[in-house]
Symmetry: D2
């Protein structure tokens, strides 16, 4: 931490900060500049969060961190890339993994038809919502446990491992019984009791970035999972909220490249939520792979215009198969011999 004193700070105020820095378990290093004094808090074992409060001390202008606040998720802590194994599918390895399926599970026929079609087209995993976070209480909220059962049936038939969202600590055990991977939705990225609970489940976690989460906040949410004991975490970029209104979200693809630099965790891209427009999904998916994502998660529905949620951003079965063919060149290039679809 660097503590910049204000220009008119007194010697007494400087001394007071030095004492507080030492009380917090750091060594204080004073640097007297032309205009102001800057105090460095040196050491790695002090109480870092207490230092931040010094911004409130008299004569202090700013307190600036010089190290990232996350540890276990960082490349500095672990150099080699993490590979997360989801019932046999390796995310973070040489192959680009494609997860596909409807926003919500709506019926037996809908989920089975979709599962068969996405498997035939080359998807590696199945997605489908059982518990849906919906902005309005009057919108479709998901079929709940009935959906979980249908997902399991689709999984058993197709062999595709299933990922589905869990919204509440109370549902974790139930959902973990049916699903291979548990998703933390974007709006729950900073639901800390949920993160703490998921840290103790044996299932791998898909952690979506919050619509207004900085990259730092996203990695710190993952840090909750790792520090609580669950190292099987896959990050998912799904677009952030900005002033632009033509697209549902602004897909922050450069964040994928940066997170791969900062962290050893796999990162996948959601071009459906990331754009909100069916016509852009295939192009955004390609760009996601080009920038280094370890996989994709795409919404697919047998009849998007009748979908109970997210229809406008869902591919139909034919469009998904087309997208997969379009990706096959780069996918094959990256993973020449391991295509699970064949």
């Amino acid at each position: 931490m660097i503590i910049a004193m204000s220009i008119d700070a007194t010697e007494e105020e400087i001394q007071h900060v030095v004492e507080r820095v030492e009380e917090c378990g750091f060594r204080a290093h004073i640097s007297r500049g032309a205009e102001r004094v800057v105090i460095g808090a040196i050491g790695s074992s002090g109480r870092r969060h207490e230092l931040e409060a010094l911004r409130a001390a008299p004569g202090v202008e700013d307190v600036m961190p010089i190290t990232h606040p996350f540890k276990l998720v960082s490349r500095q802590f672990k150099r080699e890339q993490t590979i997360v194994n989801v019932s046999g599918v390796q995310i973070g390895g040489p192959e680009v993994i494609v997860i596909a399926g409807p926003c919500s599970v709506e019926s037996r026929d809908q989920i089975l038809t979709t599962a068969r079609a996405v498997r035939a087209a080359g998807a590696h995993m199945l997605r489908g919502g059982a518990y849906k976070p919906r902005t309005s209480p009057y919108d479709f909220q998901g079929l709940g446990v009935e959906a979980l059962r249908l997902l399991k049936e689709a999984r058993d038939e197709t062999g595709l491992p299933v990922v589905t969202e869990v919204m509440s600590t109370e549902d974790v055990d139930l959902v973990a019984e049916y699903a291979d991977m548990l998703q933390v939705g974007a709006r729950n990225m900073q639901n800390f009791p949920l993160l703490r609970r998921l840290a103790t489940t044996p299932r791998p976690i898909l952690l979506k970035r919050g619509p207004s989460a900085t990259i730092k906040e996203w990695l710190l949410a993952a840090e909750y999972l790792l520090s609580g004991g669950n190292e099987n975490v896959v990050l998912c970029e799904r677009g952030i909220k900005t002033f632009e209104t033509e697209l549902r979200n602004t897909l922050d693809l450069a964040a994928v490249a940066l997170v791969k630099e900062l962290s050893h965790l796999p990162v996948i891209v959601d071009p459906s939520h990331g754009t909100g427009r069916r016509s852009l999904i295939a192009a955004a998916a390609k760009a996601g792979i080009a920038i280094g994502a370890d996989g994709l998660i795409v919404e697919v529905h047998p009849c998007p215009e009748r979908a109970l949620s997210d229809g406008p951003q869902s591919l139909d079965l034919t469009e998904f198969a087309q997208m997969m063919r379009g990706l096959s060149a780069p996918l094959r290039q990256l993973a020449p011999s391991t295509c699970v679809a064949c």
Copy 2:
């Protein structure tokens, strides 16, 4: 709902949309313009959310709502202003209500000292965190039930009703035992299982706006509470996330005026989180009252530079008393004879 067809939509596509509109329980009203056809879906009892999926139908360019999606929270549903009674304190009435206290309860001495001081300065309610949502797992997470007990002791001594945050459905009953009002924190504004659970508690709710929640999303979060049975909801504007970095958040005061127009629910302002800077709190508080807020919630700590959280945006006891004196003119003007501080 208005469905705008694209310029080159065929008659067949138009007909298909008309049929879907009718299937969803609406009457279709076709308007043929110079360039394109626009179809209105008329009626109030149809399945509105299914219409939105029509954006995915061939020949459709856009689907635009023309009514607000919220009902019970709207002024159209209920003209008169709601007054929420928190153990005798009326929020939404003629008096501007001030809630004050530390970000986190840290010790018996800290919370009692603060409670006595804010009461003496004229506050009407006490705040204090027991369960703290923290960006990093390594930061102070709150004293939990021990903090709840200390808050109750402070309440019993000073007579100030207490508001504190509840982060998880599992904690609702416990927190409701100790607190007069339950707070939904900004990061939980769209934690729908929590909202559904809180809809069934007898306690009034303080619903903070999410850092990236639009006004519509905020009111729909409140709609979860009202439609679930809890009408005692107070909204709290606490700043939104923008590109500006000098201030912790951008306090959206005009939103307060707009929400008062759109809804009958009381709205209060949090100038501490709203600015993140101690020196701006008093001015922002005044502006909040001037724009029509029903109250304020302000962070106060006996020694901000030693606070375990939010020190830089906490007033010390003297500063809070000063702020209250500065507000007394407008406060008295609005509520001449009911100052509980005397």
Copy 3:
């Protein structure tokens, strides 16, 4: 400047940075922490902007400024509040100044009617656009020099000094002939040739904040004017662009309080652009005064629904008079004996 080296920086890399710091005219001060080395660049006469490029040097993780980059506009440079005299009207003094008038000058009748009405209601200055920056080339672009003549006529009749926007370096002399104060519109806040040209005019400048300008960028735009020789600068907060779509802009009132802290320049508020909604203007105006603004600029039109621009955010003549009566308490309180309206 603080240069934080990365954890694995070599001694050679550290040495290289030290040399570059010294080459740029600073003294290098090395601080060796537990994890990394931090180098302070000390001195006030070095080439600051060259230091920033060191972020590109091997082994450097971050380069952080510890001083604000603006000088002449800062309170540290000049403690006392600047008062800008616009043909006799003092902006920045004890009285809250109200500037009112139509978005665009549309006709002789329109501007004269408005000027008389706003004067009668207590306004101190007249606004009116002659050259209009419009998002679409097909929208009304202003009457140009004809509008300037009409503004002058309104000024001569009512005695209200006039402010109007200048969009191009080529128009500066012409506009300065007719207007008492020249406005830099929000979209031109970083039009640096225009700022450099306006720095040499004898007219005072109204500098609107850009829709996506940080407070720092806004003050640096003012620094262009002051460093070029024009010290008569009034800043204007008019809302910033955020994800919120219910309101045209997000009025950043806390920025007013912060800018008053950082700078000696007067700041006024534009509640018309700041909200985009007629019904919110009076409340936002009050809040602006409460938070410490030195004045207001408000759009007024004799018939808003026929305005050629900004109708939805213009008060009609009666509404403006009402707003002024609503403000009179706080206005009078701040400036007991100088109300020009009487």
Copy 4:
């Protein structure tokens, strides 16, 4: 345009809107719903911008456009892709075009060295700033006409056409004498006098997206150029301003795909400004090509750590050559036989 009346609008208010719609040159089409009346303004020759003011008429709740406000730039106006010829280089055709060079021209040696190197590595055009828009008046502002002369020398030697920014109407003729293509910088995207002036130059224009410009505003800025007579416009996505602070801007790659859908103009991507980090440029460049961009513009400097501007986001000569080799697969795939670098 759709005019939604409020729920309690009177017959008189409805009638008044109908009259105004007809006065503005449209046919009014009334649709009476269960809750409210909606009025469609039909016709393509009416005064569209006057309708918008109806939002200020009594009883009106909202005025919603149903067509895009741009014309000449739209795919509906012109189906086939525009190819812009810059002194022989075709932007928008089958080949992905790479423009490279320093942020600012700093010296003869710097620009010649860079020009030779980027040509050898396969770049098609040279960039270099002569007039620099800088946030602070104390930063390096460019070498002006001296830089123009050096650019011309580099162009003559290497054969690479040159693009450089023009900041002021007064400089247009001078810059057009030296450069093959004129750039409108991000901060000038809505400098309308500049756009109007550039509409009359014979040179093609590179129009950067403003840091807070919506896609609509960006296309309307291009509409100024086309409607003024210059059809040789290339759009450039260079990142937008968001809450994220780890990266200088948020590169909005999905916008590229959307703009290609909405407009016939070529679009290129600037991964240097788009990320602000040298280490991410190559990956972002690949993603830009994958999503359909017609080209790239990349900052290259012989010694980034000594660059007078944008060092941290400039590749050095070796890194640029590496990036080009990394792109060669996709570049070759898209343009098998036309590589100008060989």
